[in-house]
Symmetry: C2
Subunit: 668 residues, 2 copies
């Protein structure tokens, strides 16, 4: 069967085939008879537990084709299309039936036949990692075997030079924006896309398991949704990430009151820059440096972070390297590394969890699994009980390395089920989880709001010890990785130049300081790290005020302007508050942007605090040059924000007091 | 390096190479310099927790060669030889060293170069199963691709037509018996042997993992022992299974008081013969029959077995099919089948466990994992807590099907670690475990006496629905499978002909009834099932008396006569009692054997109750023809036991009372 898709009467997806192939039973489902057609119209509005919007409207038409295989198997398959203003979703369903119960998927072949050689923002297809920088090329220039196939990523599995990952962002010569992804990825492998350059057709390529099968299913079964979002405005693409959420199931967490959007600090960046180590013996740092350094997660150092968080109203303190195992966790493909309950001797877990609570702060647990998932699954219950006992209700997990069960991949069905199992089990223990090195998100945080964020892309950490994230990186992520859900990017690095830690250190963060602030708005996440060291914040306590003030949960979001690879300007209204925040970022080019504040309550006065690049700021040469200004603004104001190369601006807008209106100037 | 082995000045193993190959780091350890040689003499006697002997002497010389790789890696490796009167054990050790920490084993190449084309009792090499019938051929006739490569086994993985499994029993033309096996298999894959027919050299072939590696090790590390047992008497081979135990570590179970050798009945054989089903809906039976039958594990039926056990002094009642999941457990490679805690609605677990305890009986838990081991590992703690709560302290586990993690094998390192993990975790919960479809045993029950038995070979169940176990089968098992440890063979089938259950049923048990009794002695296990249905025992209550009387734990064992493939006669003394029991079995040939009772206390009178084949008995035509006789015997008695084709005899010898000596005749 075939489908096609047009937008404003122009073809976007030309007729493209949809078929399924099983290995058990051995059938190829590619021609069908239609048994029945159902269509329906849906319009409902639902409330988010947390998010960029407090309420989201789900308005779509559904077409359900009930099909029967015409090759003789008698197998029934449904294809369901949902058409939104923003785009299309479709999925396959295998209803309960006599002819099919258990089956093994050899291949799903969903095609996306594009109309031309579009500009594309892509990372290589891979079974194990998504931590690449982005390539911007025409479709015909895609080559996943070269370029950004970074050697800096430990576990990666290349499989086809024409393969890319989703969310895949494209732009046609006519200025149409197209985004392909998937929604509601459960009990199924993640989808890569392989390009046939002769006709610009992408075909789905599912991540295989250890023996080459794609999925083990049992009818009734359904695949994730394949999604195509289209607009002639880039800003509307970003706003349409709601379509992905609408294609996911409502929350399964009955009482979500334990889920707390929050800002946090942590013993983490100091290991990345080589100041301290994860392990007790001092050898495990993220930096390239070789000499031994002190252990980071000591009682004393943790206390310092708790005190800092408490002093500044941040609610969480992440502590990495608190538990035994780090001496040989990396690169060994070793099964029994961590037990998730045994602290190093210099880390007093009882004292610290009580001390944190006494200060109104909570320690965020860290579970690095070293990708030994069989081991983690054995320990999960014990580890979560340990957290409950110590009053912790948030965990950051990690999956660095080659997966155990050996032969499985980060993005295969087995791991997809694991991630969902973690979301379910943490919910049982009233714990929120923030997964690193996990599969890219597909809107599942609607269903499991305690799965509060993921990394699942190249985060800020790469700036500490690798070729880093070029200035355009953060202008592409909202159009790619973030279409599926929140990213724990860990912004907020104030000490941009890293040679203060080691004179030989060439790496640096590839933004200005102001841009680090803007990322709190442009890079949506309900958990946001203030990733730098306390002492670096104390040196710029005026700029740190923005991090203290910025919200992490929102009633509304307005994409003011955006172009993938160039710039993103977003305004958001704090949930349950009249405050608004604006973030504006640019790539390596300086840029003057304007933003209308027409979303403010008419007739009301606000104080806008603008954190911006100084006139001579530059991400490479002068990254810490920033200016802070305060003005009175209102709904008629048009903000002009000048962004330095690799720069950004962050604006905090709060209702003005009478004193404010007297002491501050009106913005002109 | 090479080693060779001779017995009474005749070569048994000609110079044979020992080498190791790693994939990470990529080194081939095949030539060495000797760094140091240590030798020592050991002589100690240790007490068993349970077994064939209450005390075992460990008397050996040890030679430890400390070697360094001569190819330039600088890697240190030790080879340790232990020489016993009964044979040889050797292992490889990788001591803690600067040059080697984590490493991946590509191959262990331990050779066993034999001196001729010996007669061999073999089953095909396989990564997943050991449930074959035995082949008896010369070495040159080994062909694992044909013959007994039964289609009746669901999960099997053939890899080489010249491959066989251990324990491998051979006999030279000169009448020398040679047995090759391994001891203390932990954290390492099981060893198959591949024959080079040109020079009769076996080379070790380790079971690979999902990606083709053999083992992931970390120095200090050691391999299992490779063992060669030699004697010119077949009886001494059987007695030398103690050498395997001596090469294992002492018990790690601190308080073994919860471990109870016992006889048990169970809801099990009735499913195999098609009388009832494992599943609730009545479709899952072992028999070939197709129609639906009642669910076996109902409250009512379980009560009947409990009453029967209590009435006859048996301590355990196994109940299979008590828990949900059986409808689609088999052959689906499905991960989430059983949860090990949810009974079918017709099985009242609370009532039954209390009822059993009130009758002095315990229900034996059943954990069929369907080989979905990732799933079982997630549930283990919960499942064992459930057992503790319901007063159960013994579990029979099963691993039918293809392993999950997919690509792993029953006998690979990952599963070997799983089996050990189960032994350790059940010990923590004070539970004994009896594993079916697990790896062949290597004496580890010395270290984990709560790992009380395994099946790990072709058990009695195959007689119910397959080509079955030919009459010679049980005369070979003691020389092969049982060299490594106890087998839960499940003897005691009285209703030999199975067409009583279904007129079309052609299969039958391939022994006489008397031989079923003899198996309680010849097939050593501390847990012995009375496998038939209560109603069948009630029809032969006189013969059932032997099962009621027979012990399951022993102070001493005497191998009276034996020839692999022909006959086995064994006498055992009940632990802590003056009672002796004798079992005698033959293959398809009738046979007259004699057994001297010189092991009895001199001058003391005993009553011997002899359960033997009637004169016209025959396994196929007249299997239930048996005779029971009682005589007075003493240490001068020479028992003559006439065994029918496929027959056997069982003898119970207890101290005579004065009344006995008056009423019974002296045996002549």
């Amino acid at each position: 069967m075939n489908y096609s898709l047009s937008y404003k009467n122009k073809a976007v997806i030309q007729p493209s085939a949809l078929s399924m192939k099983f290995s058990e039973p051995a059938v190829d489902l590619n021609t069908f008879s239609i048994v029945r057609i159902d269509s329906s119209l849906h319009d409902e509005t639902w409330e988010t537990v947390w998010g960029e919007y407090s309420r989201i409207r789900d308005h779509h038409k559904e077409l359900k084709l009930s099909l029967v295989d015409r090759n003789g198997s008698g197998i029934l398959m449904n294809v369901i299309f949902r058409v939104f203003n923003e785009g299309l979703g479709f999925r396959y369903e295998f209803p309960q039936q006599d002819k099919l119960t258990h089956f093994v998927l050899a291949d799903e072949r969903s095609e996306f036949r594009l109309t031309g050689n579009h500009k594309t923002f892509w990372i290589p297809g891979d079974y194990d990692t998504n931590e690449f920088t982005y390539n911007t090329t025409s479709l015909s220039e895609i080559d996943a075997s070269s370029s950004a196939m970074s050697q800096e990523i430990h576990a990666k599995t290349f499989f086809d030079k024409n393969a890319v990952q989703t969310p895949l962002m494209m732009k046609t010569a006519e200025g149409l924006y197209i985004n392909i992804h998937e929604a509601a990825l459960t009990n199924y492998p993640a989808m890569n896309l392989v390009l046939n350059k002769s006709d610009f057709t992408f075909t789905s390529h599912l991540v295989p398991d250890a023996v080459g099968n794609k999925a083990y299913l049992q009818a009734p079964a359904k695949t994730p949704w394949r999604t195509v979002i289209i607009s002639d405005k880039a800003t509307e693409i970003l706003a349409a990430n709601r379509m992905i959420l609408n294609l996911n199931e409502p929350s399964k967490v009955e009482d979500p009151s334990f889920i707390q959007p929050q800002k946090y600090v942590g013993i983490w960046w100091e290991m990345h820059v080589g100041k301290s180590s994860w392990d007790y013996s001092g050898g495990q740092v993220g930096s390239q440096q070789q000499s031994r350094v002190p252990h980071g997660a000591t009682t004393e150092n943790t206390k310092r972070y708790i005190d800092f968080a408490a002093a500044h109203g941040l609610k969480g303190v992440l502590v990495e390297g608190w538990n035994t195992g780090w001496e040989d966790w990396f690169g060994k493909w070793k099964e029994d590394v961590f037990d998730f309950v045994t602290p190093y001797p210099d880390y007093d877990v009882n004292y610290l969890s009580n001390y944190a609570i006494s200060k109104g702060v909570k320690i965020i647990m860290h579970h690095e699994t070293s990708a030994s998932v069989t081991n983690y699954e054995r320990w999960m219950d014990t580890a979560y009980r340990f957290m409950n006992k110590h009053g912790m209700n948030a965990v950051k997990s990690g999956y660095v390395g080659r997966i155990i069960p050996r032969g499985e991949h980060h993005d295969g069905q087995w791991m997809i089920r694991h991630f969902e199992r973690v979301a379910q089990k943490t919910a049982e223990y009233k714990i929120s989880v923030n997964m690193h090195e996990s599969v890219r998100l597909t809107g599942l945080h609607r269903t499991y709001p305690n799965w509060i964020a993921s990394e699942a892309a190249r985060g800020n950490e790469f700036n500490a010890w690798s070729s880093g994230n070029p200035p355009e990186h953060e202008t592409i992520l909202p159009f790619t990785r973030l279409m599926g859900g929140p990213m724990d990017y860990t912004p907020g690095i104030f000490q941009i130049k890293l040679d203060v830690y080691d004179p030989n250190k060439k790496e640096q963060v590839q933004t200005t300081l102001s841009k680090q602030l803007a990322l709190y708005i442009t890079m949506y996440s309900p958990v946001q790290m203030a990733a730098d060291l306390p002492e670096n914040y104390e040196k710029h306590i005026d700029a740190f005020q923005f991090i203290k003030d910025v919200a992490v949960d929102w009633d509304d979001t307005r994409i003011l302007s955006a172009e993938p690879g160039d710039y993103v300007v977003i305004a958001r209204k704090e949930r349950g508050s009249p405050n608004w925040f604006i973030g504006a970022i640019t790539d390596e080019n300086s840029r003057a942007t304007t933003g209308s504040l027409s979303f403010l309550d008419r007739g009301k006065k606000y104080v806008a605090t603008i954190y911006r690049d100084a006139a001579n700021a530059h991400w490479q040469n002068n990254p810490a040059a920033y200016t802070i200004e305060k003005f009175i603004v209102d709904s008629n104001t048009n903000l002009r924000l000048n962004l330095a190369p690799g720069g950004g601006a962050a604006v905090n807008i709060m209702p003005a007091t009478t004193a404010d209106t007297r002491s501050l100037k009106q913005y002109r």
